[in-house]
């Protein structure tokens, strides 16, 4: 049942590669990984965890704002701007892309468009979170098995 280090490392490479290929992550995520070293072994995990917390708050806030009548597009746009910024900073490419679309719907005060974007954001965030958690689990398993990953 337990895999050896080589198998785990292969799985990690495959998974990470897929995440980039499918556009979940972009080069900025690689930049984060480059900033991690022996003195800051949990840097990526810390930043991503912060991003998860930030995401959940922002999604909650945007949902609340969209329920209000009339919708405060300026406030929603401010949240979308913030989310776009943080997703760009961690390399969450698909989330960032949806945020950009979201902002243009805010600009044109398109409530329907905004609601669709919010739904899309929730989906993208959920997919990303699951994928990243799997990635971190693989890394932990490798470490536990005495291996290392670049």
């Amino acid at each position: 049942m337990t895999m050896d280090v080589n198998q785990l490392q292969a799985k990690l490479r495959e998974h990470q590669s897929a995440m980039f290929q499918q556009g979940f992550l972009d080069d900025q995520f690689s930049q984060l990984q480059k900033l991690q070293d022996e003195s800051t072994p949990d840097f990526v995990l810390e930043v991503v965890t912060m991003f998860f917390d930030d995401s959940e708050n922002l999604l909650k806030n945007m949902a609340r704002c969209l329920e209000q009548v009339p919708a405060d597009f300026k406030q929603i746009d401010a949240y979308a701007h913030q989310y776009k910024g943080s997703s760009a900073s961690v390399g969450a490419a698909r989330v960032k892309s949806v945020c950009a679309t979201f902002r243009s719907f805010c600009e044109t005060k398109n409530l329907d468009g905004c609601m669709r974007c919010l739904q899309q954001l929730q989906q993208e965030y959920s997919l990303l979170k699951n994928s990243l958690q799997y990635l971190f689990r693989l890394q932990n398993d490798i470490k536990a098995a005495g291996g290392s990953f670049s």
């Binding site: 930049q31 930043v47 930030d54 943080s86």
Partner: protein, 188 residues
């Protein structure tokens, strides 16, 4: 002054985003800078020893100078979009301060707005970085720091006029900065 002997530069980073603060702090530390990160312009000014508007003018100049001599900051890097005080507002306040105006200031923004970039550079910013900030951006900071360090040491050692003339041609000159193509496109 003891501070002049230190070779490590101290950067003050200002950003209301926690994630971006973590990032810039890590980027700067990787380049061997000593970093202080704050989440607002007003906290930055407080750290620098500048009291808020109005009050500063009421205090005799010597007190304001003593206030920021405890802390030596060699460069300020600030986000543009922040609530209450924008990075641009902070830039203006720093450039209007006798004691702080020679500290190089770098502005960061997630938005590529040429008019915004030009305005910041014209009003004294030494660089404008598009977010997300890269290692290659941070590598561009050292020349600005070396320039002001040299100026600092010359002020202390009272070098001859000839060197002073050379130094003046390198002092924060808006024209010179404008002639260098500002970084407007992130090549990632």
């Amino acid at each position: 002054m003891g501070m002049a002997a230190e070779t490590q530069f101290h950067v003050l980073a200002v950003d209301d985003s926690l994630i971006d603060r973590m990032l810039i702090e890590r980027l700067l530390k990787t380049s061997s800078f000593h970093v202080t990160a704050v989440d607002s312009g007003s906290k930055a000014l407080k750290f620098l020893g500048l009291v808020e508007d109005g009050k500063r003018n009421e205090e005799p100049p010597t007190i304001a100078l003593e206030a920021n001599q405890d802390v030596e900051v060699n460069l300020i890097i600030t986000d543009y979009c922040m609530p209450e005080m924008t990075g641009y507002d902070l830039l203006r306040k720093i450039k209007e301060s006798e004691s702080l105006k020679d500290i190089p200031v770098v502005i960061m923004s997630s938005e590529n707005v040429p008019s915004r970039i030009n305005r910041c550079l014209e009003d004294g910013a030494d660089e404008f970085f598009l977010k997300p900030v890269q290692q290659s951006d941070v590598n561009r900071l050292r020349p600005h720091l070396m320039k002001s360090k040299v100026k600092d040491e010359e002020d202390h050692h009272q070098i001859s006029n000839k060197r002073k003339e050379t130094e003046e041609s390198h002092s924060p000159d808006k024209t010179r900065t404008k002639m260098e193509p500002p970084k407007v496109v992130n090549s990632s």
